[in-house]
């Protein structure tokens, strides 16, 4: 019981550090962005100075920087990401709110697919070590790790979209599954490969440990030994890989969305930075950082579930 309480306390501490972390990220991004040359109203045709002054006044850009920073924090505390500087008439909340479901759907399916295929693949490769299956799985893994998604996706689109017309080359229709297949595959491949490799490695370690030998000696069938005894401890490294996996999928979705023409939020990050759309960039950074921090918390919970020393205390 004390152990569980400690666990809960640890989890709450982590949750409590999430907000300062987010705050630091926002602060650094805010000031780095402002230190950069250029501004949101730089256009090819230079606007008359009166108009620029009016625009800056309307967006509060004429205030001292620390006032702007406080203003931004205040509106953030009210759940308002502010207006976009470039997409006139849109707030950042609206822009992100429109695109985020697409990005989230893409990323969630990709990570689910990576886990669903990567874990069994790695486990089977470990159980049948040095078999043809093992070699095939590990070749696939090296391929997935090495070959970038922005090469995989065009090649897939060429094969399945242009040479045989099975799937759309690019584009998006709400609710269409066919449009998601290729981007999801391209996005899921690198984490799938890492997960298969991690699972194989840790599974091999676990299979050589004492308690597995005991389980085998009791006469349990191999299947039971693997599913009931070996798999869970072998998944610990996979759990800690989840945060990098989420990060990899986020960065991957930046290019995958642009190649596949999906209306996600990926494009806003680079575009926003190029346009000096300060509020949009900050909004994107907050969303992505919150997702990463959330993934970190999930890993903590998974550890508690995977590690019998924690569970035994319940």
């Amino acid at each position: 019981m004390a152990r569980l309480a400690a666990m809960v306390r640890y989890f709450l501490t982590r949750l409590a550090t999430a907000i300062p972390t987010l705050f630091i990220i926002v602060t650094i991004t805010f000031f780095v962005m402002r230190a950069a040359p250029g501004g949101p109203f730089d256009e090819e045709q230079t606007l008359p100075p009166e108009i620029i002054a009016n625009l800056q006044n309307a967006y509060g850009l004429d205030l001292p920087i620390w006032r702007q920073y406080l203003r931004y924090l205040t509106s953030l505390a009210h759940g308002d990401f502010g207006p976009s500087f470039k997409y006139k008439d849109f707030t950042v909340t609206e822009l992100i709110g429109q695109g985020f479901p697409v990005t989230l759907k893409l990323g969630a399916i990709a990570i689910f697919l990576a886990l669903l295929l990567g874990i069994p693949l790695g486990a089977l490769a470990a159980v049948h070590q040095n078999s043809a299956l093992d070699h095939a799985a590990m070749s696939l893994a090296v391929f997935g790790i090495a070959v970038p998604s922005f090469v995989v996706l065009p090649v897939l689109a060429l094969l399945f979209g242009i040479y045989v017309h099975w799937l759309p080359v690019a584009g998006w229709e709400p609710g269409s599954v066919r449009h998601l297949v290729l981007p999801v595959v391209a996005l899921a491949l690198p984490p799938l490969a890492y997960i298969a490799r991690l699972t194989r490695g840790s599974m091999l370690d676990v299979l050589h440990s004492q308690f597995i030998r005991t389980a085998r000696a009791k006469g349990l069938p191999l299947r039971t030994v693997i599913l009931r005894h070996a798999l869970r401890p072998a998944l610990m490294p996979v759990a800690s890989y989840l945060v990098p996996a989420v990060a990899a999928i986020m960065t991957g979705s930046l290019v995958v969305e642009s190649i596949a023409g999906l209306p996600g939020i990926g494009r806003y990050l680079v575009q926003g930075a190029v346009n000096r759309d300060y509020t949009l960039v900050l909004g994107m950074v907050i969303i992505y950082s919150a997702l990463l921090i959330g993934a970190g918390l999930l890993v903590d919970l998974l550890y508690a579930w995977l590690d019998p020393r924690v569970r035994a205390q319940r």
Binding site: T21, V32, A146, V147, A247, L269
Partner: protein
């Protein structure tokens, strides 16, 4: 030591996949350096009469041309050279930072180590790629900045691994002997700890080169890395992505070079790790 090295070399050469990958990687490097001499075309010369022409022998456009009539063979090799250079230089930056940081944290230990590792933990939890994106967008895209920002992001893993190794080296007798002789910590780290890390460092440096090449091509693909008229494999792939249907070779040629190069370097690194028997962190 030399017998151990001989064993390692023998183990590496017994690994057929690793040897094949090494040969292929050497061939790619040699081709990227020597290849353009055998082709009359320049990497930025426009051949308007043969814009977006298919791979073939006419005008020596062996791999075809892009939509401005620039030769894909020469461009791909030039891009490979740039990507490799970035991979090597940024790896050197990240390895230097990582080894220095990790060795100091591991050797000093105690509270210093604790704080230094916390810093790594916090940095590891941040979306650092966004910072690289911002730095390259905001402060102009010069190559030096690109090296530094990539190198500055990539050192975390290296530092963590080196610190782990240093912790076990620190407890060995020869370090104790050096302390007893009155050697300063700086001297012990440089003369006794770092040389014993070489196996690990070589393995992870080899593995970090393809990672950095991948990272750079990702940035270049987004239009943030290398800029025209220079080319890297990433910018070439990005150019080709828009011509997929009409002229697939514009993406397939640099794309397959990039894929092959990364594949070979990864397999070499894995082979090296197995041969030197470095534990995965």
């Amino acid at each position: 030591m030399s017998a151990l090295m001989q064993d390692a070399v023998a183990r590496f050469f017994a690994n057929r996949a690793a040897v094949a990958a090494l040969i292929l990687a050497v061939l790619i490097v040699a081709l990227s350096i020597a290849g353009p001499w055998f082709n009359p075309n320049g990497y930025d010369t426009l051949d308007w009469l043969h814009a977006a022409s298919r791979p073939g022998l006419p005008q020596a456009h062996w791999f075809g041309t892009d939509r401005l009539g620039r030769d894909m063979f020469v461009r791909t090799l030039a891009g490979t050279r740039v990507s490799l250079a970035i991979g090597l230089v940024a790896s050197a930056v990240s390895v230097s930072i990582g080894v220095g940081y990790g060795a100091i944290a591991g050797y000093i230990g105690g509270r210093t180590d604790h704080i230094m590792m916390r810093v790594i933990e916090i940095l590891g939890g941040l979306p650092l790629i966004f910072f690289v994106i911002f730095v390259t967008v905001f402060f102009g895209r010069n190559v030096f900045l690109l090296f530094v920002s990539i190198g500055a992001v990539a050192w975390l893993t290296m530092a963590r691994i080196v610190r782990g190794q240093t912790l076990s080296i620190r407890r060995q007798e020869f370090v104790e002997a050096a302390v007893a002789c009155g050697a300063t910590p700086a001297r012990i780290i440089l003369r006794h700890v770092v040389p014993n890390l070489i196996g690990t460092v070589v393995v992870y440096a080899t593995l970090s080169v393809p990672q950095i090449i991948l990272f750079e091509s990702f940035l270049s693909f987004l239009g943030l890395g290398i800029q025209e008229p220079s080319v890297s494999l990433g910018t070439l792939v990005a150019d080709g992505a828009g011509e997929l249907e009409a002229a697939p070779w514009i993406i397939l040629v640099p794309g397959s070079f990039l894929a092959l190069l990364l594949l070979c370097l990864n397999i070499c690194g894995d082979g090296l790790r197995d041969a030197l028997d470095v534990r995965q962190a």
